[in-house]
């Protein structure tokens, strides 16, 4: 059990799921980091490629603090002038001008008269109406110079002493932050870059899966010279890797099974060969002894008995052959080599081999085959065997008819090979009648070649065997 305890984790660690979760997790964890990193990158790029313009060295720009500081300072100064005489106010403004030499300042008394201006400004009304005050305030909001208006003697409400105004060019103010304008102009670009990176990683992840699946599919459909699928190369040990392993395992099993089948086939063939040898050897000895007898002086009865024994030896030999062939065929161990062949050519060669025997048996051969080839998908040896068995049957059981006809005819709209005889027909009892093993072999062989045998026997005698393709 301990051996397997680490396996589920290892399996998960190697899985596609864990890799995908890794990508998602990395993306989620990275988002909080992504924003400051983008800011930082943007700032860095801006600093590196867009350095700040160097100020004119002859020009001295003084800074007086932030807007808030200036506002507070001005309001405090205004409050401190509560109840002061105009001269004291003038004095105070002059003192303040000393502190803010770049600033302009003036004050307006309770009657709306413009009093001290430091420096003198054109465009200011000498007598302020409420409209002038509003227009001035409206103009001053968020404009350059930075403007602060404070009621003299009060922080936020009029104390009846008028108001005093402070104007300072914004360049003399301290900015609210220490950064420069434009430091963050690349922020969006870097965010886009980071997200593009995640999209690319995801795309590569799925592209890799797709590629491996397609490779596996092509491997599964490819067959080797033995007709079986070929092994696929193994990739990473994830889900697809395990599928590849399983597929290779299946190919190995198939290969093993094919090999076992082949071995079994060879074993059976070898057994049959040995059996055939063991059965035929004593028959040969027997035949040899009988042949020796022929040289001895024998009575007619003795000669007849000898001839009968020789015939029976031949029959027995044929029967052994049939029995062993039937065994191979019935067990599906007969290796067929189906090819497109000129069937008529095979028939002619077979008939040529049988012709001398027919002549000897007094059988007239009427062979009427067309010259044009007739191509059938057959195993040549198997088809020769079919013809041999049929011709052998004809000689044994229908030899008395003294006729064999081989021709081509249309049968059920198919071109059929016809082997005809004028023997007593199927219903009659033949002295050489056996278990019909020869015909069973014929049928098994024809079935393997997708051919059909049809036998028509006539009551007046004669049989016609038709052989034609099933399709």
């Amino acid at each position: 059990m301990r051996r397997h305890s680490g396996q589920p984790f290892k399996k998960f660690r190697n899985s596609l799921l864990s890799r995908y979760l890794g990508i998602i997790g990395f993306a989620l964890v990275f988002i909080p980091i992504l924003i400051p990193v983008s800011f930082l990158a943007s700032w860095g790029v801006n600093r590196a490629f867009f350095p700040a313009s160097v100020p004119d060295k002859t020009e001295v720009v003084r800074s007086y603090g932030s807007g808030l500081q200036l506002e507070n300072a001005w309001h405090n100064a205004a409050s401190s002038l509560s109840g002061k005489t105009p001269e004291e106010i003038n004095e105070r403004l002059r003192a303040l001008k000393q502190d803010y030499p770049d600033a302009s300042m003036f004050w307006v008394d309770a009657e709306g008269l413009t009093r001290l201006q430091l420096p003198e400004q054109s465009g200011l009304p000498s007598k302020w109406t409420p409209e002038d005050a509003v227009a001035y305030m409206k103009h001053a909001v968020d404009s350059d110079p930075f403007t602060v208006v404070a009621f003299i003697g009060g922080k936020s409400q009029a104390a009846g002493q008028g108001f005093m105004v402070f104007e300072l060019p914004r360049k003399n103010m301290k900015p609210l932050t220490g950064g420069r304008e434009g430091d963050y102009r690349f922020y969006g670009f870097f965010i886009f870059l980071m997200f593009s990176f995640f999209i690319l990683i995801s795309y590569l992840f799925f592209r890799d899966i797709r590629k491996r699946l397609l490779r596996l599919e092509s491997g599964m459909t490819r067959t080797g010279p033995n007709g079986l699928p070929v092994r696929v190369p193994l990739g990473r040990p994830d889900e697809i890797g395990r599928l590849e392993q399983a597929f290779n395992h299946m190919v190995d099993e198939l290969d093993d099974s094919r090999r076992r089948e082949h071995e079994e086939e060879e074993l059976r063939k070898s057994l049959i060969s040995n059996l055939s040898h063991d059965l035929r050897t004593p028959l040969t000895v027997l035949g040899g002894q009988l042949y020796s007898f022929r040289k001895e002086p024998l009575s007619d009865q003795g000669q007849q008995a000898l001839a009968l024994m020789e015939t029976k030896i031949n029959d027995l030999s044929g029967l052994i052959d049939h029995l062993l062939s039937y065994n191979l065929l019935a067990s599906g161990r007969y290796a067929m080599n189906l090819e497109d062949r000129d069937m008529l050519r095979v028939v002619r060669v077979s008939a040529a081999a049988w012709y001398p025997l027919w002549e000897k048996a007094g059988i007239e051969a009427d062979i009427d085959l067309p010259e044009d080839p007739l191509i059938w998908h057959i195993d040549e040896q198997g088809f020769r065997r079919v013809l041999d068995n049929l011709f052998q049957n004809l000689v044994r059981h229908a030899g008395s008819g003294g006729y064999v006809g081989i021709s081509i005819e249309q049968r059920h709209r198919k071109t059929a090979l016809v082997i005809a005889d004028r023997g007593p027909g199927l219903g009659s009892l033949s002295p050489a009648k056996g278990a019909g093993l020869g015909l069973q072999i014929v049928d098994l062989l024809l079935r393997e070649m997708e051919l059909v045998r049809e036998t028509v026997s006539y009551p007046e005698g004669g049989t016609r065997v038709y052989i034609y393709p099933l399709q």
């Binding site: 063939k269 040898h277 050897t281 027997l286 012709y355 051969a365």
Partner: protein, 226 residues
């Protein structure tokens, strides 16, 4: 020992071996009978034909046959076996010239042995008598015994006749003759062969309308009877 008639016979079964070698000797052959393939190579040096059983102790007949063929490519080999499967026959015929299955008739064995010896041996100085013809195989001469005249055949006609003589008594299909003589696949060669046979008959036969030498086997091919 009759020159050209020496047979090496390898058979492990004593009864079959004794019977076959006795029968072959009675037919005029000189037989060297071995019960295994051990000394086959040495013994085959003086033989004109090897007859081999397949299932032998030690080296099997196929291996012995292959070694013999490698050592003596011109030596004809006849496999004589009780193994009848097509696989065995095909395996044997990869190197052997003939394959005969047991049980067999000694006449058939002798006939096949004779064909192999004639095919592989030098042409006989004695003329072959074919009815009214005398065929001098060595000199490639055909004479009419009755008139004493020499019969002149064209190259192709002679090849066809020679092929039929090599398979004396056997029926050869038109395809077999055409492909052996012309060396091309038989497609529409029927008319060509027929024309050649007709011209040959005009020269060879007493009565070309009733041929005695080249026999037509209707629907199959031709045969020259022994």
């Amino acid at each position: 020992m009759i020159p050209g008639k020496n047979i090496l016979y390898i058979e492990d079964d004593p009864e079959i071996g004794e019977w076959v070698s006795r029968d072959l000797k009675e037919r005029g052959y000189s037989v060297t009978w071995l019960t295994s393939g051990e000394r086959a190579i040495e013994e085959a040096a003086s033989c004109n034909l090897a007859i081999l059983d397949v299932m032998l102790p030690g080296l099997d007949g196929f291996t012995v046959g292959q070694r013999l063929k490698k050592q003596y490519p011109g030596l004809p080999i006849l496999m004589l076996s009780a193994r009848t499967s097509i696989d065995d026959k095909l395996q044997g015929l990869q190197f052997a010239d003939d394959y005969l299955t047991k049980p067999f008739h000694p006449d058939e064995l002798a006939a096949r042995a004779e064909v192999l010896l004639r095919r592989s041996g030098p042409p006989s100085a004695e003329p072959l008598e074919l009815r009214h013809l005398l065929v001098y195989e060595k000199e490639n001469i055909i004479k009419n015994r009755e008139t004493g005249e020499e019969i002149m055949l064209t190259g192709k006609q002679f090849h066809i006749f020679q092929y039929l003589l090599r398979h004396l008594g056997q029926i050869m299909t038109k395809e077999q003759i055409y492909e052996a003589v012309w060396g091309e696949p038989y497609l529409d060669g029927d008319k060509t062969l027929m024309v050649h046979i007709r011209h040959m008959r005009e020269k060879l036969e007493r009565d070309p309308a009733a041929p005695e030498i080249i026999e037509t086997i209707r629907g199959i091919g031709y045969r020259v009877r022994a």
